[in-house]
Amino acid sequence: MATSARAYTRWDTILLGACVAVAGMVRALPESAREVAASGMRRTVVAPLVGLQRDAELSRRAWLARDATVLAHDSLALRAMVVPALQRENEQLRRLIGLGQRMQWGFVPAEILHGQALADDYTVTLSAGQRAGVKPFSPVVAPDGLIGMVKTVDPTMSTAILWSHPDFRVSAMTADSGVFGIVAAHLGNVPARNLLELRGVPVRSTLKPGTVIWSSGLGGVHPRGIPIGTVIGEEKKLAEGWARTYLVRPAAHPAELDAVMILQSQVRAGGMSSVWASVLDADSAVRRIVAAGDSLKGLAAADSARAAAARRATAPIDSSSRVGVRRDSLQRTPARRDSALRQLQ
């Protein structure tokens, strides 16, 4: 660029003086007036630049927060992995507390100390011992039913044999006291070893699959009325011509438990029929309510589907005919309520 094009003249100095003077006056304005002027500029000529700056700052913050977000995501994922186990444990403890409230007295709560030994299939170590009032032959129960029996007792811990132990025996009966027998472990390979056997059932007595087997209280070790399991079928044994043997699915599985109750001798004399009977009643009531809810949802979905189909079918017809379809669906409402009541009953 030529020097003459940018020659310094008096007008340049005047222009500079004017700019500096105006800037000085702007600087001297009161705060409120400056804010008004600045705000006006931000909303008009500078608005695109303000938007660019805001987006850039947001991008930078997002970039900086990325590491923290990844860390938080990882932490959440880690916690989410633990949540199901905690929920399961929480549920177990709730049910155990409920069992304790129903029994009210005569029990010692204990934790199952799960080890990795081979014998863990048959025995467990419990965190309560002699000092807590635990004695040998005390029954060990869970909210779902019988787990086993205390074998040895130390001052602070004890060992119990589980229902899967070959030496485990409990006198059992059906709910109506019509059939008695002895429940023992079903010995065999791994899948079958998770079952029990109800032995010594008279040939004249037959049990249907689904029959619940309870402790009978005979023998004085296990109190009457603890759920042991459910009959799933008859085990054919040619050698036992005078008696039947039934396979029983255990009510409680020790591997899934972390806490149990050890019953004390005072309770054994009284029997525990009322404790688990109320649990069964409550469980069955809950199941019925859930089933009724599902049924209602299913009926509502079916109604919606029918209404949609009716709307599609009557689409060309005028609106008055569609009103009729809606009225019909309303008339079906009492029927739904009746079915729900039937489910609850």
Partner: protein
């Protein structure tokens, strides 16, 4: 031809202004490059001192609109450095890169000094620290960014200078 060169200079100015409001916030450095000063100086050395002062005033007002507490300070500082740049360019004809870098350094440093004095936010030792340390650092970063800009925009700006 002359208007075409002016258009390209204006385009370079717009690019640098946009960079100021996009790249600079993303960098987030304590001593940031000032693309507004670079843009202003690049244009100022190509126009008359009075026009440069006017451009500096309006550019400063844009910068001030986002910093209400110092409203007017940038306008004053940019008017001064734009006028000075245009006048000095007429005197020295500095066309080599090193001199341009020094030009950007001085421009940014003077801008910061005038701005801080007009803003009246700091005083005493803190003001000295701002002017001597942080303004110098910022001026150095601006000079580096200005050089990079010159290298990138050289084809565009060389034509407009002739």
């Amino acid at each position: 031809m002359r208007s075409w060169a002016g258009l390209r200079t204006a385009l370079a100015f717009v690019i640098l202004v946009v960079l100021h409001y996009t790249l600079r916030p993303m960098l987030g450095w304590r001593a940031e490059p000032d693309f507004l000063v670079i843009a202003l100086l690049l244009v100022a050395i190509r126009v008359r001192p009075g026009a440069a002062a006017l451009l500096g005033f309006f550019t400063g007002m844009v910068a001030d609109s986002l910093a209400v507490h110092a409203f007017g300070a940038s306008a004053m500082a940019m008017s001064a450095i734009a006028f000075s740049a245009s006048w000095l360019k007429a005197v020295f004809f500095a066309d080599n890169m090193a001199l341009n870098a020094f030009f950007f350094f001085v421009g940014k440093w003077v801008y910061n000094a005038v701005y801080l004095l007009a803003e009246r936010r700091f005083g005493g030792g803190e003001l000295l620290m701002q002017i001597l340390v942080w303004s110098s650092l910022s001026a150095a970063v601006t000079a580096f960014a200005g050089l990079a800009t010159l290298l990138v925009l050289r084809p565009m700006l060389r034509t407009s200078m002739s």
